[in-house]
Symmetry: D2
Subunit: 363 residues, 4 copies
């Protein structure tokens, strides 16, 4: 349980870090979508390991294979299964942890919960599972593109290095031009140097990924439990290493007064309704209001470090866990496409649900 996400556009992922493959079955994708395999592959390439020296050196082609649900280049309305075979499994790299509980990993909790675990590379708890999310998210993006929805994520913080420029003044396209995926080139260089330094020390560091979404129609999100930001929050918090989520004014907003925080509603000459400020982050009462949606996702420093740490083994004996293998000293650069993918999955799902809201739309 727990490997299925979405109500209408629904994804079901499977696969372990060092099993045969990771994959996803997508149901509820409308029929007739031009299935742009190259685009899907390009999104996987953005997430791929080994893109620069500040990401893990695991070698994976991460080539996606489509098994069902597509015929003559179009989705058919039936389940779309996509597989990415695990090439560079190198299971021997992990044999030394068969019996170890690595600090702040899921080894101990999986062992206790299931009584058995695939210890190789973290098994199901590995972020390798996000390959499947990116493939499904790319498909969602293909549909959202036709709706004019544009989702851009970028790195806004690494350790204590923070991007202070307001998002409206940034050229977000810059983010994809550097290895850190920060839209400020100079700060990106500082971040790169910092991460590389951390890497050499065999350590890791956290960071923040911000997302900025434009072109959403009014009406996405459902009242009460399935509020748009609640579902975005769950989606983001489900990504490995995430510790916090805030949207709009977020935690800073708690210090404001209502008279400062309220977004005044206006209409321009063309009749378009908008708000003067956007502390609401594009969402009011859990439903998109047409303004840009933005949020921040906080990632902890990943637990895998190249240093010795005290711990226990399966038998409860004291051991020293030695850092070995390959790791990401800071996950946020590779987390950018994952944040986008999960955003796309959430938004498309709500877009489809929203199509059933009014009787007049349904008849």
């Amino acid at each position: 349980m727990g490997s299925i996400y979405g109500k209408i556009f629904q994804i079901s992922t499977f696969g372990e870090s060092h099993g045969a493959a990771v994959g996803v079955v997508v149901t509820g994708c409308p029929a007739g979508v031009d299935f742009d395999l190259d685009f899907i592959q390009s999104e996987l390439d953005r997430r791929k390991p080994g893109q620069s020296r500040i990401t893990t050196q695991r070698k994976e082609a991460d080539s996606v294979e489509v098994v069902s649900g597509v015929f003559e280049g179009k989705t058919t309305g039936t389940p779309i299964a996509m597989l990415v075979w695990n090439g560079d499994q190198r299971s021997k790299d992990y044999s030394h942890i068969a019996d170890q509980f690595r600090p702040s990993h899921a080894d101990f909790t999986y062992q206790e919960k299931y009584g058995v675990r695939d210890y190789r590379g973290g098994g199901r708890s590995s972020a390798r599972e996000t390959v499947a999310r990116v493939a499904a998210g790319a498909l969602a993006k293909l549909v959202l593109n036709q709706l004019g929805v544009k989702i851009t994520a970028y790195v806004s913080q690494v350790g204590t290095l923070k991007l202070a420029t307001p998002v409206e003044q940034l050229d977000l396209a810059v983010a994809e031009t550097n290895a850190v995926r920060c839209p400020d080139t100079q700060l990106a260089e500082e971040m790169f140097t910092y991460i590389d330094e951390i890497r050499k020390q065999g350590d890791s560091v956290g960071g923040v990924v911000s997302a900025y979404i434009t072109g959403c129609p009014v009406g996405l999100g459902e009242p009460v439990f399935d509020k748009l930001h609640a579902e975005l929050g769950k989606a983001m918090l489900s990504i490995n290493a995430v510790k916090g989520f805030e949207y709009g004014s977020g935690f800073d907003g708690v210090e404001l007064r209502g008279s400062q925080h309220n977004d005044i509603i206006v209409k321009d000459e063309a009749g378009k309704v908008s708000t003067v400020t956007n502390h609401s982050g594009g969402i009011q009462g859990g439903i998109s209001n047409g303004e840009p949606i933005y949020f921040r996702v906080g990632f902890k420093p990943v637990a895998t470090i190249m240093q010795d740490q005290d711990s226990l083994n399966n038998s409860g004996e004291k051991i020293v866990v030695s850092g070995k293998g390959r790791h990401d000293p800071c996950v946020v650069p590779r987390a950018v496409p994952i944040v986008e993918a999960m955003s796309a999955i959430v938004l498309l799902d709500f877009y489809l649900r929203h199509r059933l809201t009014k009787l007049s739309d349904v008849l």
Copy 2:
């Protein structure tokens, strides 16, 4: 859609702020639970309006009525429907907003989404719906009590007034002895004075509710999408006015290094496994590890203020929205039982799901 929460212990709420009643249907509650109606009522009383002069003066008895699923004082395993009739509806208070889009309320988004809305007191978008959550959450607490799980929420910030004391050094029971529900009596007084000042100005202010949960067994939460903290995050973000969620080290943790952040696993002489630090907030890989679970929930200043604000009406004409009626200048004191209720619902649901994990437990 969007009014149902949980997979096994599932709640389905209904009702508008000024309709006949708000209520909840709980399914999946095990049979044989001693149905302590007094306890459920006492939880509703904690959430009730009019508890002090810093909460809304709407007068509601909020008496819960049980319609089904309980027989001779025990749950029978069939759906439990609970109703709270809306007494002090005073719909005339709200007739002036029939045609208004109040800033940062859901008036505009509901109107656009549905083409029709119950404008009275915000209708379904009102926090009055949380009555239903508190009733269901109280039932979940009754079961969790038997499992030794203890959930305590408290106010840790109002505006810029922050509680700095580490949670381990607090006597959380103190929180319920003051109107603000802050476990530091002196700070609580400052917060009270501050909120009362805001109230007199016809303004509002935000705040933070913290939660601290002890007694959870190892194993609650599911891998991948239904991680324990992801579901807690969604549950909290679904509460009216919430803008952010973080657990464990949260956003502060992103600045740390892995070597600082990792929680070293140790075993005491009695064989109990624990961690030296708890940056993980009691959750690793999305699954509880037996340490205390803690998180923070940020609430914006509520949108209802007693001041004039520019806005539009249903026809898109410019209007001035005048603050009238009753409101909470700061929602966090009354949000405390709601945060606890949603926590209880999430934890009991995961507890039940976890019972199906191992073949040996199931046979």
Copy 3:
């Protein structure tokens, strides 16, 4: 668990036979439906006990009360809760069965499953729960009416008395003019006399309800598991006392050859595609093909009889169960509106799901 039905148009029922009320929460009903309370009440009246001397003499007004989700006569898109209070509970009628396992009732299975049960009138296992289904089904009918879908159920068999006339030659409107709800007046009289005879003997007898649905567009139903007839089958089999379901050619069709059974596809001059025969019952590959949908639902003789029967009590001791109280000697007349209600719920749900099938419809 088990009290929720549907994916988009979803109903959640609650209530026991002799509890305070039975009710339903409907979610996923589009906003803007004219909520015709009189029609909903009229459907409940068709199901009501005491309509003639061949139905149970329990006295219930079965007045429906709407608690939420409707504002100024229209559905608002939020959950619609409807309640029917139990008036003539007469719990003392049932005190004698507190400790009895009545043959072919659910007393024994509920006691074993839950360890506790509301024995009064069968509690949750009573067909009184279908009040809630009829209310929700009436709402579904209101929407289907606007789509041109017409659902008619009628009694086609009582004991060995069978209606042999092909459905195309029947005036189905006749069914509602007699107490048995058989569209053949003369046969209806024979059935009435037969049931009345059975009633005088303190016995019961089974029967068949047939359904005939016209006006369905092509495309309702989903491949693989959620085939239209599979879901109709589940819906019908979930009605109390149902033992069998067949659609189209049904069990008789198994004796035919493919060359006899296949429905040849033709097109008329107006371009309308149809089939020459309709052994498929309007469904091919689980999806409606535009032809009339028809099926048969077999009901057993109800278990409550006014005769002495051997059995056991809660303690496993031998007892004699004496028939007392009020009962239906044959349930099919009152089952007609229930079959229609469940059909409406299934069809509307599939109609809504189908609206999300093609990209061109969704954009």
Copy 4:
């Protein structure tokens, strides 16, 4: 939508008849199950084409490949993905139907519903999808075996040839010793001859598969909508070509009186409760009562026949559909393992759900 089945033990199937593969993702399978791949393969072999001259001559090895969720021979509690690659796809066999609506197939309904379809061999509507169900069902059987639940299906009717012997007097193991899977050897021979005759005529014929299940504990099934027989009915009706489902006394039971039909409850000297008769088919109020569960599933004559038939093409023009390729003249022999598989999936799902019923079992 529509390709997912089950609540806890949940299967999600994918794949088209002539796509790359068919497969299934199973979630909710408990951890620690000995994953007997040979047994799963042997179940697929029972369903495989080409077993005798009365089944389709399509050549498929139907070798199952496990992609995830199994480690060192045990299930790990994470999703189990299984694939069967389509070997003998021979797509050219089907190119002639690219533009044809074959009578009583899903060609027309899929085309209308989706606007696009994989016409090769029926695409997703083909019974080849049941490969995935049999693989998942075999896994469910592995667990049910440990619980003492035994599921046996067999052919009880082909065309007008009916098995009249009461099930208690049959040796069901005999069914697997002949190509028809009928437990009466002599009748099996008659059926074989009959089907072979039909085959030579290029025609097809229907039949009935009966199922008999022993060893179920009391308590499987949920009240109201998810009654055990309602879910079994849906599962069976979802199998290709099924037109009817009845359990226990079924449609014959409608002619009986309550005094004849009621199953008297007794207790033997060992304290075991049972019923004297079993018209209830092992299910009362939707919940298993410990008696054998039995039901009948009616299959129509398959639509593919080797004869010319009038029809339309995609453009609505009249055409003659010529029978070509390979087909099953009667599907019931190969449907036997599919009926068992779906029964196993339903029963295991209810078994797991039932484990959460009583508070005392859950604590």
